[in-house]
């Protein structure tokens, strides 16, 4: 298989990024230091090339009804020019992917999916159209996607002359023209901070990237992106959610709207008793890693770490873990096994870090 490159590949190499294969693409892991990149996003602004992600367009009179049918969250009642995060489930309730659907118009929807799942999602979604009056197109190769994240992101984009309304809350979207190019600007991201994602042509993305870097926005790689999302406890496909679990197993009950008339997976999810529960754990010393065992105070194995890292903000090892719901300890006492030693973990009911998103 040939390794794919985003339109910014040369720019990453020019910045001496440490590159690594991810979802078939040669992607930047880090440029300078993961710590510096994380703190830039928490305190100032950073830019990520996430052009490897997939973009599907749904066009036609039934576009909104169709997307509402395939996702578990409520897309139909979302306001125009709003984005909705949702799992995409099979009839049996297991998760094919998680995605963001952008309501661009009464007959136009953009769906942004994980890079590693583009082929699987496309096959699934296009097989579900049936009698819905809409057309699908996979424009993943035609779009670049930059995520500009951090408390200064809004100011920087406004300074560049990208025009969006004064009132432009989190998960708002806008189609606009900037410097002669049509772009889609969304106030979305995966860092917990305020920030924007800009869908554009490859040509525009290269120009915007250079301008952002020139203006002191820190280039950030996938390593920092993963630390940022774990700090604010956002799930990642292939870790907290996968083909074998339902959204109800992974703390995503809030995205499953049983009040909807119907959606794929509804009857299975209505009847489903979750097997797993997602917990947030931290350690005073040591770093939990994916795959490490989670135990109760008696030392019985009850689950597995699905994502773990050192939190740059708190300076502690932090973990998301799926545990067997039936074995969830009432005393909230958990141990994590690291190299054959069990360490007491702190249980967190809230995210490790509060992002500043609006």
């Amino acid at each position: 298989m040939t390794i794919l490159k985003t339109s910014l590949h040369e720019a990453h190499l020019a910045l001496n990024a440490k590159m690594a294969p991810f979802a078939g693409y040669d992607m930047p892991l880090q440029y300078t230091s993961v710590k510096d990149e994380v703190m830039a996003v928490r305190e100032h602004a950073g830019v990520f090339d996430v052009s490897h992600m997939g973009e599907f367009f749904v066009i036609g009179p039934d576009a909104i009804a169709f997307v509402d049918h395939i996702v578990t969250n409520d897309f139909k009642n979302a306001e125009m020019l709003k984005a909705v995060y949702s799992p995409l489930c099979r009839e049996n309730g297991t998760v094919i992917d998680d995605l963001i659907a952008y309501k661009l118009g009464s007959d136009r929807v953009l769906i942004c999916v994980n890079a590693s799942n583009i082929a699987k999602d496309w096959e699934w979604i296009s097989s579900q159209v049936g009698s819905f009056d809409c057309q699908l197109s996979n424009l993943s190769d035609d779009f670049s996607l930059l995520a500009i994240q951090g408390p200064k992101a809004e100011l920087i984009l406004r300074d560049f002359g990208i025009k969006f309304p004064t009132e432009f809350p989190y998960y708002s979207i806008l189609e606009t023209t900037h410097e002669g190019e049509k772009i889609i600007v969304a106030r979305t991201g995966y860092t917990g901070e305020d920030g924007f994602e800009v869908f554009s042509s490859h040509h525009y993305a290269k120009h915007l990237w250079d301008k952002l870097i020139f203006n002191g926005v820190k280039p950030c790689g996938l390593a920092a992106r993963d630390v940022l999302r774990v700090e604010v406890c956002y799930p990642l496909y292939g870790h907290e959610i996968n083909d074998t679990v339902t959204p109800l197993d992974a703390g995503l009950g809030w995205t499953v709207k049983m009040a909807k008339a119907d959606f794929i997976g509804k009857s299975a999810l209505e009847a489903y008793k979750p097997k797993y529960q997602l917990v947030k754990l931290s350690l005073e010393r040591g770093i939990p890693r994916e795959g490490y065992e989670v135990l109760n105070a008696e030392g019985q194995r009850i689950g597995t770490v699905t994502s773990g890292t050192m939190s740059v903000v708190t300076g502690k090892g932090v973990a998301l873990a799926l545990i067997e719901k039936a074995k969830a300890p009432a005393d909230k006492k958990y141990l994590i096994n690291i190299r054959n030693t069990n360490y007491e973990a702190n249980f967190h009911s809230k995210a490790f870090v509060n992002g500043g998103h609006k």
């Binding site: 440490k18 993961v34 390593a223 993963d226 770093i287 890693r289 890292t309 050192m310 740059v312 090892g317």
Partner: protein, 129 residues
């Protein structure tokens, strides 16, 4: 990538350095290793008195995103460990050959030091990577 290789030290293909003083050897990780790992945030070292075989795992260094085993280049007994680097793992990035030494061992077989790489051997090894 940063790549300082002091000529007075010996090296291994696991990117560790060894300072040989009679039958006592001080061990750390090389500048190349710290640079490849990135921000080092955790170091775990053995108990003093532990007996190590050559190539045996004696601890770990972790960056934000990775875990790497440390291998003892030589057989011996742990004489001392550096608690300063355990408390401040970032020393591994700042001073890999200085304050970030990891352990001192007393050799079981002092002739084993002949198996280590010289600075120029290590330099040549890096150029093949």
């Amino acid at each position: 990538m940063s790549n300082n290789i002091p000529s007075e030290l010996k090296y291994t293909k696991d990117h560790e350095w060894a300072k040989v003083e009679g039958d006592t050897v001080t061990i750390g990780i090389t500048d190349f290793a710290q640079s490849a790992l990135g921000d080092i945030v955790f170091v775990e070292l053995p108990e003093v008195g532990k007996t190590l075989n050559s190539h045996q795992t004696f601890g770990v260094v972790e960056s934000i995103k990775s875990v790497s085993d440390l291998f003892s280049p030589l057989a011996g007994t742990v004489l001392a460990t550096n608690s300063e680097v355990v408390n401040a793992p970032e020393l591994c990035n700042a001073e890999p050959y200085g304050n970030a030494w990891l352990i001192k061992i007393k050799l079981s077989n002092p002739t084993e030091v002949n198996s280590l790489l010289s600075a120029s051997d290590y330099q040549n090894f890096l150029s093949t990577l």
